[in-house]
Symmetry: C2
Subunit: 417 residues, 2 copies
């Protein structure tokens, strides 16, 4: 596309691309935007190096003028959109990219990859957080997704309200609080379960979390309290019928005087399993497989569509696909959230070339990158922290129906004007 | 775990870890191992740099002896397992890692992340290839998964029989054949669809693939053939009721004399949608969202379990978790595929410390890494090509029932002896 557009002179037509989702998967009530900070940084660093250019040339993928153009590529356009951590609904204009056609179309794959992956995890995470109520959730899914996606998933889950991650690189890179667990292999490595527990207590102190389901849970809990005393931090249960096992372990811990020892459970938990444990004496959850897989929806369904572009004379014109099922809505868009007594009622989307104002509504679309320079508030460790805070604030705006786990309509309607 | 095991002296106990899946998700008949080549290379490069060590020290994650041990870390153990592209079944010992406990347990997350992600895509891809019969399939899912996972997914799909990818980095990095498409935005950029088609034909020649569903499909096909003539390579359809639209377009192309112009379809295709188009005059498919999401199962479900380790006196002892639901099977394992007239009948798993032989059976477990050195046949571009060839050979061993898309039992039983 870039090659052909450079040749026929349309490559530099001013263009506006929009990221949006046609629907929320699985009858979900809202989605959570994540990945924005990673994306702004990635756009800033997006270049074609010698190795890439040599390969494109050798393979004949594009012609010489395009190779030269790619060698100088650096995005110099504008990006506006939803803050990271913000909620979105069907047709929410989550991100708007404005620049020359070639410069903006080249970013499509990068933009969609980052936002689709991270928002899928954040959306699933938010539902689990909602189901867990006041109980903390730890992200433990690094082993169930691509090694790089694992780091991003831990970041996205934290933005959506998780308390910690087992992914140390997410701690180092993004400032996400980290935690660790012992695996069954650590118990099996030792001659006895008691040896394993003692080694862990010696290394980590009595406040550690002991894994009690390698052999017999009741025996393991007895051993754990005998070795660590009532100061034992927690026990982890990773198998069995959790409501039954958890209740029995709680009673046993209390009988042994370990009334402040917590119980943490893991085992392919999703938002429904977490909700199903609400009445059980669980103190914290670890979620992995289902979380990093977006709880059945591993991609957010965002698309990147041209919604406006310049004519030959430079005047801007809204454009949209017209064929069946996938019709889009043209024009540059800005979103506002209408609120009544602090509760969201409508996602109002306004089509306008200039930034509009809407009295009494919360402005959802904000500047993210201007002339190729990212707004620093949204990137790096500070950006992640801001996203987490923003998410916590806006999720409180949801109407009561909006946090239901069951399939249904979006929490609020989108008004496209 | 490493910190505690270094402190109590168990860290260096010789240990054998095994990667296996307890079941195949969704009643699938077989799984496809992928990621092996990427993994061997990643193990070879797995180090703790100054930045990582400084962070671990500052955060107090581990103590000084562990920091020193990590600074010198380099895996020097052995890895055996299934070749990349091989089929696997429940309890197949897909990978076996042997080394000191600490040196081998440290690789758990890396090993599972790579194999779980890539095998999920390869398994879904193999089912789509099987459903597509002789028609070629292109991987187009880069926008629906994490930006790095996208490259690995293209690689995994090619190993499992896809013909090409739209991911240029997968072409550059792994030698996967690449292809491109025009998006709706390219048509919308131009003043008319005719302008867009002409620009593309000028750049790519008449053999290009024109996207015909931005406005009216019938008009677009007429325009496409008028501009490109009967040499028009292909038209792509990305929306609508595909069987109906495809039939109409085929008839129209034939009426216009473009009898050799091919029809390619894309639009959230999975193995079932592809099978449903078997009777339609489709020439090739593009699969994206569903492919990179593992067609509903984004992770392969592999776990990494300690199956054998040394006692204090150095003698090896099989170990296994004993509690409910997740009981494992101890001991070092080797797999053989029993065949009758070239068709697989049984996955025979033999527990043995030394490499056994089994007359008349195909040896599935092969050496992959010895004393920390990867076998070159399995890594890099050559490894990918070998994996694709191996997959094509072994998928032909499946019994007829084994390629059914419907849920059911594994294609062959696993005999754990």
């Amino acid at each position: 596309m870039v090659d052909a557009a450079l040749a026929d002179g349309t490559a530099h037509r001013r263009s506006v691309f929009e990221v949006f989702a046609r629907r929320l998967p699985g009858g979900r009530r809202y989605g959570v935007v994540a990945g924005t900070g990673r994306l702004l940084d990635a756009i800033d660093r997006f270049r074609f190096g010698d190795a890439e250019l040599a390969w494109l040339e050798a393979e004949g993928v594009v012609r010489r003028p395009t190779l030269d153009w790619l060698a100088d590529y650096r995005f110099a356009g504008d990006v506006t959109g939803y803050r990271e951590g913000e909620l979105y609904f069907p047709s929410s204009p989550v991100l708007t990219v404005e620049g020359g056609f070639a410069e903006a179309v080249l970013l499509e794959t990068l933009i969609l990859s980052v936002l689709n992956a991270d928002s899928a995890v954040a959306t699933a995470a938010a539902r689990m957080v909602s189901a867990a109520g006041d109980r903390p959730l730890a992200e433990m899914g690094g082993r169930r997704t691509h090694e790089r996606a694992a780091v991003s998933a831990a970041r996205a889950a934290w933005i959506a309200g998780f308390s910690a991650t087992s992914n140390l690189e997410a701690g180092r890179r993004w400032g996400v609080p980290t935690m660790g667990t012992a695996a069954h292999s650590f118990t099996l490595l030792h001659d006895t379960e008691e040896d394993a527990f003692q080694a862990q207590i010696d290394a980590m102190g009595a406040g550690t979390t002991l894994l009690v389901d390698t052999y017999d849970v009741t025996e393991a809990v007895e051993t754990a309290v005998r070795l660590a005393g009532a100061e034992l931090g927690a026990v982890r249960i990773d198998s069995g019928d959790l409501p039954t096992v958890v209740s029995a372990v709680r009673q046993q811990l209390d009988r042994l005087g370990a009334t402040s020892t917590r119980i943490t459970v893991t085992n392919d938990l999703d938002e429904y399993a977490i909700a199903g444990l609400a009445a059980s004496p669980v103190d914290s959850y670890g979620a992995g497989t289902r979380l990093v897989g977006g709880s059945g929806h591993p991609t957010a369904g965002f698309v990147y569509k041209l919604v406006e572009r310049a004519d030959e004379d430079g005047s801007m014109r809204p454009v949209a696909k017209r064929s069946a099922q996938k019709a889009g809505s043209g024009g540059r868009k800005w979103a506002f959230r209408l609120l009544a007594d602090g509760i969201a009622t409508t996602e109002r989307v306004v089509v306008s070339d200039a930034e509009p104002t809407l009295a009494g509504a919360r402005q959802v679309t904000v500047p993210l990158m201007t002339a190729g320079l990212a707004d620093h508030a949204h990137v790096g460790v500070a950006g992640v922290r801001a996203a987490r805070e923003h998410h916590a604030a806006v999720v409180r705006e949801l109407p009561q129906e909006g946090t239901r786990l069951s399939p249904g309509d979006p929490a609020i309607p989108t008004d496209l004007g």
